[in-house]
Symmetry: C2
Subunit: 261 residues, 2 copies
């Protein structure tokens, strides 16, 4: 048996359009009964909104098939009693944390955890400095990274994602973040377990050489890079060697069937 | 012969007031003919403004006694032909780079170097993302850090300095910054050479356990930490062990004379 993990943004869609062949690849996946999950670092939308967005693009996916940082973080925060939360997430994503105690928006101390998601243009000095001051207060809160993606392909160019802000906060405060998302091995392991598979049986396909391919390979999965989304030719010049490089997710069925033969 | 390097912010002054005993310590320094330099990571003001500020607080210092990142960076950029410059420095600090070719303020490619100083509240997502895009353009520019201080003590609490933003950009772009300032060994070495001394003959006194004490010790200097400025008791719990910890720079003469005896 072989199982599959698929990244979303840059692999199945980009901005508001489906990538050519993505719908057909998902159909092939269902037809062949390949167990699969969508493993995304998206923290800019709640899971419910991701499902709706995929649906509007003709990609039919259920809540339970989406494995994303806010959902993993919620479980972790409850298990570690790490409230009240200082949430640095977009307003919409707050629903994934509903029911947990939140810190006052202006407070600079007293957090049980500082949770950092992709808030994009909402980052400014005041927000980053507030997160820093919260981390410097005693007792020290947990620093939680909702994914460690470095950047994404935006409509007008590359845009910074969560990881650079985590690196800034880690360096300034001396804290080490707990990473809920790619490329953390724990996150890939949890996704593989959810499929009832083993890493060696599982293929990950994504457009991020570090987050998708590097993280998957470090966990023992096969890592495939696509030349869509944030892909840059320079990605192939580093230390991480993808097990395959495909022009897009449209080429996955052919690669898969050839590999089997 | 023994020589001395002194940090400015948090050691001689804080916000707009002189730290008690600082004037007397500088007088002692002159009376004893101890060769000394002021080694600062300040990039928020040009050297000329630093001299004026010190003078207004009763601290008489000449231009040539101040060793700061913009001055060191200028020499390096000229030697490495790394123009046009994308300058992320405060308006006032631009005068330290006068005469060098600057990149257009809106350009997202074409930089010979991306120079990052302390711009404080001027950091927002757009500015950081622009620096990132410049670094991702081909051919890749140099990334220049005007010091690698993690944070400073501001009037209402701790404030992020240059280093966290450099860490963010390094991680996002895969570039490695050339550090012009503390704690870079090259920077301490250059300061010691300017005094015609050797590292083993030189004492560094500062309020930053990493930037001042760690950097100095790594270069072979004696590193003294003061309990003023950004000092926190937690600073003494890490891997860096200061050669001495003083309540403030006021205690330096006594420590120095006792050491000699």
């Amino acid at each position: 048996m072989q199982t599959l993990l698929l990244d979303l943004d840059g692999v199945l869609y980009q901005d508001d359009h489906v990538i050519d062949g993505a719908v057909e690849t998902l159909r092939w996946c269902k037809r062949r009964n390949i167990p699969h999950l969508f493993v995304t670092n998206t923290s800019s939308r709640p899971r419910r909104a991701l499902v709706e967005r995929l649906s509007s693009m003709g990609l039919s996916v259920s809540d339970q098939q989406i494995f994303a940082p806010p959902v993993a973080a919620r479980d972790y925060l409850v298990a570690n009693d790490a409230t009240p939360l200082a949430l640095f997430v977009r307003k919409a994503t707050r629903e994934d944390f509903e029911g947990l105690e939140l810190l006052d928006d202006a407070a600079e101390q007293g957090a049980g955890s500082v949770v950092i998601g992709d808030i994009g243009e909402a980052w400014d000095f005041a927000a980053l400095n507030r997160a820093f001051r919260l981390l410097m207060a005693e007792p020290r809160p947990l620093l939680i990274a909702l994914g460690m993606s470095r950047y994404a392909q935006g409509s007008d160019g590359l845009v910074l994602d969560v990881a650079p802000f985590i690196k800034a906060l880690e360096h300034a405060s001396g804290c080490e973040a707990v990473v809920m998302g790619k490329p953390a091995t724990e996150f890939f392991d949890a996704a593989v377990r959810k499929l009832g598979a083993s890493p060696a049986q599982t293929v990950m396909i994504g457009d991020d050489i570090v987050g998708d391919v590097g993280g998957a390979q470090a966990t023992g999965l096969t890592g495939i890079l696509v030349r869509t989304g944030k892909f840059r030719p320079r990605d192939l010049e580093g230390d991480i060697r993808p097990d395959a490089v495909l022009d897009s997710v449209a080429d996955l069925p052919q690669w898969w069937e050839n590999r089997d033969s």
